[in-house]
Symmetry: C2
Subunit: 685 residues, 2 copies
């Protein structure tokens, strides 16, 4: 096959590969679970938070819970409607970040990116903390060790993702559908019992809640509004993860946008049904639920203190316990799949993080190497960073979901708002250029939806800021500012470098001559190969260079050199202090000085070895030499590799690495098909 | 200056430099303290160990102490006499390792090297542990925290050596001479008091020692011999460090060997006088000294138990306390300089370790990069390794000198023995070729001395093994075996590689053609420079190669390329999965396959930046690409550096690094004179 053929084949792309790419796209029934775990899992903690917030005014405030639920559902459906516009307008998968950047400018984009980064960390911390509470509810011996359980779980998740889990539709589909079945089934069963009149009361139904300090007695109107606002903003935790689909449009089957929009609607409806059912059942079963730190506010019906060691179980656990009172496998099933879906939600953060990193890298906001697939090191650093941040939060807040929630929702609503604002601009801009009345009408409608969405999410953001700033949201805002500044700094650095590197006419001037020197340590195959390669480039002047630190070895080498008739002079540099690097660097600098418009080509024979300890034994001097030579203008460094037998081991390891899946591949439509040609088989035998 | 001039200057070496090299050589008065601290410092613990060992049979056994001291002194002087032969015969500074390798073969040499490595670790552990005991004796609040004090001291020493302490004669001379003055002065003062009859008794003189279990009652002859043998072998700790001078002959002023031999004799005489004076005074002052673990064997004169909290101070402390009873500054002076000399002794290990590493590297027993000066990383690893091993020993043995001593002496005597045996072979070999009767007589005499030395040290080694094997020497022996095997493995690996790399005639064949590809990411200065350099090498075929992951950017680049009229075709490789490295590697492999006798030259423009975080932001893809390309035969990788403004920072840092002193420079005669030309000033402005 000629080079021409080869390059054409590469230029056009392999047919096989493109056709198989299509096969990895997700049908709706798989896309739903892939993108839904984060959003749906919040039903495991959002209703609990509503009850906790209301409980400060005593159990009587619970009457508001389903009304709050309805408002949250309204916001949820509004946001879903808004994002349906986004997936149509921006099918490339850039999501909120792209919408904000394109329509509101770079700083808005960076703000969204900061919010997303913070959100990924909190998704992990909140989901895993909640999961550890479910685990403690089912396995009593874990009680009191929730933070440890959560930390271990985060470490395990990170390890799995570092190792490279193959994501497949089934990996998400089975637990997500099981979770839907579990929650909706449990609620249906419970509502059926309610209808026939034998719905049992919850384990906590006999308790009374004493209002918190300052909340006893009749509430003023302001206090009431504040109470409801706080409960509502906690309930909005249910909205986290809704935006995921807008980042994953490219992974959908065609018509991508339409399928994504439909999936989004489905997701919204399922989430709303779950949340409402849980709230209604919890009310009917008279669940009593307070901040786990204020368990002493729970009293027995007689007004006495609780017996020591009372354990408050999450709302879903209590419902399951009651509904399946005669069928404990039902209870364990619900609790188990809830725990699993929470872990899966945390895993989506591990998957989304590298994808976001890659997008930010392409825009010069993160190290550029994150932008291309397969930088294992950068990718691993991202996973470790995410895990460490999440663990820090878990340990600081002792894995208490209620406290972590205070940090969570700000970031989400910051991006909602900027995204909606961007969409309004988007439609306004497009309306200017559009004359077709049908299209205009559709755009007007979309803009109206986004405007309504903005109004709604703006109100929520204000409520969240007012009610949660001091309770923890300030931490999130500081973290966002830090991320923002780091990204600005990186971006500034890249621009500065780009400016410094901008080409002018002068740069086309060719060097007048090439003076090649081949480093000689011994007269063996690698040296001879380097000499041959150097000769093949026909430099103006070619010489071998040897650093002498031992007279005997020097004489031996010079004899060998003469014997071999190499047609190349050998220059010996004496090094009285046994230095290798310094004499060579000095020599290269002297050559350069004597011919400032020429170029010095330094040929370094390198051993390619396979095992890590062989790396320690070889090439260290070459590495240091190269590091030093790069500082000298007009010097280029040529590595002439010599592959030792053991290099085969490393070549195979590299090939395994290259074939390994990376988290996030599935949701960005980038899964490598197993049928694609394995380029490592193409290495010369 | 033409290249010819330059290379001649480098070839001949700078006059300035060679003449200044001479100035750094050590006169005897400086060489003595530089090399003596290790050997002399053992007087701080060796007598204590003799008393401890004898104490198991009760204080009555102390009558043997000065006889044991005399035997140790005899061994010491014999060893000194033997090493005086070595410094004459092997003036290159290879010491025992060289003697064993040259005369007994590689395995004997590796055995000596293993013993030396173990000894360096133990020198640090023993000296610092002993120093921390002196510190606790002077500062009561440190009592009970000796291990912590010792650990902190090792960490500080390691940090100082990592930082690079400038060793100077004065650095060693002042404390070493002060130590000699302190100990010999104290002893002279004490002996004077003895003569005039007012030598006080020691603080412990009123105590009785109860014999250890099994040692009460009259001793059998065998038990008696064993007791004395054990005490003797502990006393031999005084001999550690005597061999140091034989490794440092090149650092002496001319006539090197003669000066070294004289210094060695001086060292031996001073060490013997110190030890004997201390033992005699301790006996006269009726010091009672037992294993610090068996303090309960000490009784009051009435036979009662000791008051709680009795602190047993080291022998020198007790003598100083008594002799200077009316002059406490004298006591503090003695204790302080003793502590300092012990730290200095530990520091010699940090200095000697890199020197030994360098020698082993030259012989292919350690990573080759250790062989040339200035591999900061390898050097630092050595320091850290030494410190970590010493700290482990200190923590395991709770900084108790008595226990660590059990591990110490084996290694020393293994090298003594192999060295003596080597010297005998050396003389025998030379006697065969020598006819001059005077020379023959001198050699015969030398051989007789070494033979006597071997006899003596062999007996000591057997005694040490018999009495100390179970007490801890087995650990040393296992460590030596491990080091031995590692060095054999490294050496085996290098031989295998050398064999694989041995050149044959075929290797001279030139590649038929050079196909050069220049990687293009953008059309900026680095790319244009790489293109210009590539053109200057006049390859048979030159093209730019661009990996396209984004249609828009690709079109923009292609337009720019055409506009600039670069006379070079641009090949675009499409990468559907956003991979950068893989398409380029594949392309290089395809070119190579289409022309198997040609060579592919891949030009990579590299940014040279100055700050560590800039490294994170640049060159990561280039690095990975290079790593992958090296596995493909027939590919050479050319880094064309472009120096960004910030690279100046790194260039300056590198220059500071290069100028930094490394421990061990002084004792190997390698101190860089400050007048030598600074090559970093030669970087083009």
């Amino acid at each position: 096959m000629s080079v021409g053929d080869v390059s054409k084949r590469i230029l056009l792309g392999r047919k096989l590969r493109s056709s198989q790419l299509g096969e990895t796209l997700l049908p709706k029934r798989i896309a739903l679970p892939v993108f839904a775990s984060d959003a749906l899992s919040s039903v495991a903690y959002a209703p609990d938070e509503v009850f906790i917030m209301l409980s400060v005014a005593g159990a009587s405030a619970y009457v508001w819970s389903w009304k709050i639920g309805l408002v949250v559902a309204l916001v949820m459906l509004t946001v879903v409607a808004s994002y349906r516009q986004t997936v149509h307008a921006y099918p490339s998968g850039g999501g909120d970040y792209e919408v904000a950047t394109v329509n509101l400018g770079r700083n808005a984009g960076i703000t969204v990116a900061s919010a997303l980064l913070v959100d990924y960390v909190l998704t992990v911390a909140v989901s895993i903390s909640s999961a550890s509470q479910y685990a403690a509810g089912a396995i009593p011996s874990l009680i009191g060790h929730e933070a440890t359980v959560a930390t271990v779980a985060v470490i395990l998740l990170a390890a799995l993702n570092l190792r490279g889990v193959r994501e497949s539709g089934g990996f998400f589909a089975v637990p997500t559908y099981l979770f839907m079945v579990a929650i909706l089934g449990m609620c249906a069963f419970g509502l059926l019992q309610l209808l026939v009149g034998n719905l049992p009361l919850a384990e906590s139904s006999q308790l009374e809640i004493e209002p918190a300090d300052g909340w006893d007695g009749p509430l003023t109107q302001v206090a009431m509004v504040f109470l409801l606002a706080r409960a509502f903003s906690s309930g909005c935790a249910a909205l986290t993860g809704v935006e995921a689909i807008s980042n994953g449009v490219p992974a959908f089957k065609r018509p991508k946008s339409k399928n994504a929009a439909t999936t989004l609607l489905l997701l919204g409806l399922i989430a709303v049904s779950m949340m409402m059912s849980v709230i209604v059942l919890a009310n009917q079963m008279r669940i009593r639920y307070v901040d786990p730190h204020e368990l002493d506010r729970l009293r027995t019906a007689a007004g006495g203190a609780l017996p020591g060691g009372y354990e408050q179980h999450p709302v879903i656990s209590q419902i399951a316990h009651g509904v399946f009172r005669d069928f404990s496998p039902g209870f364990y099933f619900v609790v188990t799949v809830t725990g699993i879906i929470l872990v899966l939600a945390a895993n989506t953060a591990f998957n989304g993080f590298p994808v976001l990193g890659s997008i930010l890298a392409q825009d010069g906001l993160a190290p550029r190497s994150l932008g291309s697939r397969g930088d294992r090191l950068a990718y691993s650093n991202g996973i470790v960073f995410l895990a460490v941040m999440a663990i820090i939060l878990i340990l600081i807040f002792d894995a208490e979901t209620t406290k972590l929630i205070q940090l969570y929702i700000v970031g989400v609503f910051v991006s909602f708002n900027l995204s909606q604002l961007g969409m309004i601009r988007h439609w306004t801009r497009h309306l200017k250029d559009t004359t077709d009345p049908t299209a205009r009408r559709r755009m007007m409608r979309s803009r109206a939806i986004n405007t309504f969405g903005l109004g709604m999410t703006a109100v929520v953001l204000v409520i969240v800021l007012l009610t949660k700033f001091l309770a923890g949201a300030w931490i999130t805002i500081i973290a966002m500012i830090v991320f923002f500044m780091i990204m600005k700094a990186i971006s500034g650095h890249y621009s500065m470098v780009a400016e410094e590197l901008a080409a002018d006419e002068q740069d086309k001037v060719l060097p007048t001559r090439v003076h090649a020197i081949v480093l000689v340590s011994k007269l063996h195959k690698p040296t001879l190969r380097a000499l041959a390669f150097a000769k093949a480039t026909r430099p103006n002047l070619l010489e071998g260079v040897y650093v002498s630190i031992d007279a005997e070895a020097t004489n031996k080498l010079m004899e060998e050199w003469d014997e071999r008739n190499l047609d190349t002079p050998l220059k010996v540099l004496h090094s009285p202090y046994r230095e290798i690097v310094r004499p060579i660097v000095e020599y290269a600098q002297e050559i350069r000085r004597s011919s400032p418009r020429g170029v010095v080509a330094v040929y370094i024979p390198e051993y390619v070895v396979g095992r890590w300890w062989e790396q320690v034994l070889h090439n260290q001097t070459a590495l240091r030499l190269k590091g030093r030579l790069l500082f000298t203008p007009g010097v280029m460094v040529i590595s002439v590799p010599y592959q030792l037998r053991s290099s085969r081991i490393a070549a195979e390891r590299e090939s395994r690495e290259a074939k390994r899946v990376q988290a996030g591949d599935l949701r960005s439509g980038r899964v490598r098909d197993s049928g694609s040609i394995d380029y490592d088989r193409q290495i010369d035998p």
